[in-house]
Symmetry: C3
């Protein structure tokens, strides 16, 4: 099974909860999880920025093999470059497009 | 691919983000999007009301061919008539029912 | 069709809306709903606790045949025991795992 988490809100507590749930998911032996991804856009981009609130957890998730994806439209709107992101974070053309693509491939969607 | 956006919160910033993501999605050439719908209920109904905050964007989305659907339970609870809605907005018996129906038809779900 | 509602936020108004939508869904004759479940985690656990805000509605939903599931990680983090929950509420190893499992079985996902 595959799961994508959607990070979008400007709420540090919510973002931390999201990252905790992603971590817990990888440790839940009652489900067979093949892939976990995180798609971040709008104000949910913060933990993906180098030095941003939550960026240490994002690093741990990347090390655990979770794909972390940033919306390019958001980067443009916030005047952020790829080099402003935590190393290993990917960019996607649009968050909405990526979330649609992943769900069409069978990913479950979770919006913390 | 098909995508449904769920508008539910009483947060103008979140509603604007939702509408922006819907617009960006239609411009993302990396995914083949056949249909986009918006289902609004509870306090997410605001941009669907004539003259409401965000209603100009809703008009643009309707013109772009996006289906915009209002929950009838919400209209009843808020004492709103069909004539209070932006022209072109449809009503559905329940927001939850419509979101279930669309996902069962293969729509990806995005909750901004 | 099947639907799972995700309760996660510490917002009584949002939780009440979630429970109302779940109730309305069971009364919407335009869709054939076979199963409705609620998965609660993080601060969304409140209405599932005995005497908690919203617990009366949770009791009604359980009586209506809706499965209500609490995340065990959340219970541990909040130092809650099974006996602190409304009678009839089930526990699941992780909220994220359960939401993934249900969606992989065809449940539509709704995040109020």
């Amino acid at each position: 099974m595959q799961t994508v988490f959607h990070l979008i809100a400007d709420e540090p507590a919510q973002q931390r909860t999201a990252l905790t749930i992603a971590e817990n998911l990888t440790e839940d032996d009652s489900v067979e999880i093949d892939d976990v991804a995180i798609v971040a856009q709008a104000d949910g981009i913060e933990p993906l920025t180098a030095g941003g609130d939550g960026s240490e957890t994002v690093k741990s998730l990347l090390e655990a093999g979770i794909a972390v994806k940033a919306c390019s439209n958001t980067l443009e709107m916030k005047d952020l470059a790829d080099s402003d992101l935590v190393e290993g974070v990917e960019t996607v053309p649009s968050g909405g497009g990526e979330l649609t693509r992943l769900q069409s491939e069978g990913y479950a969607y979770i919006r913390p």
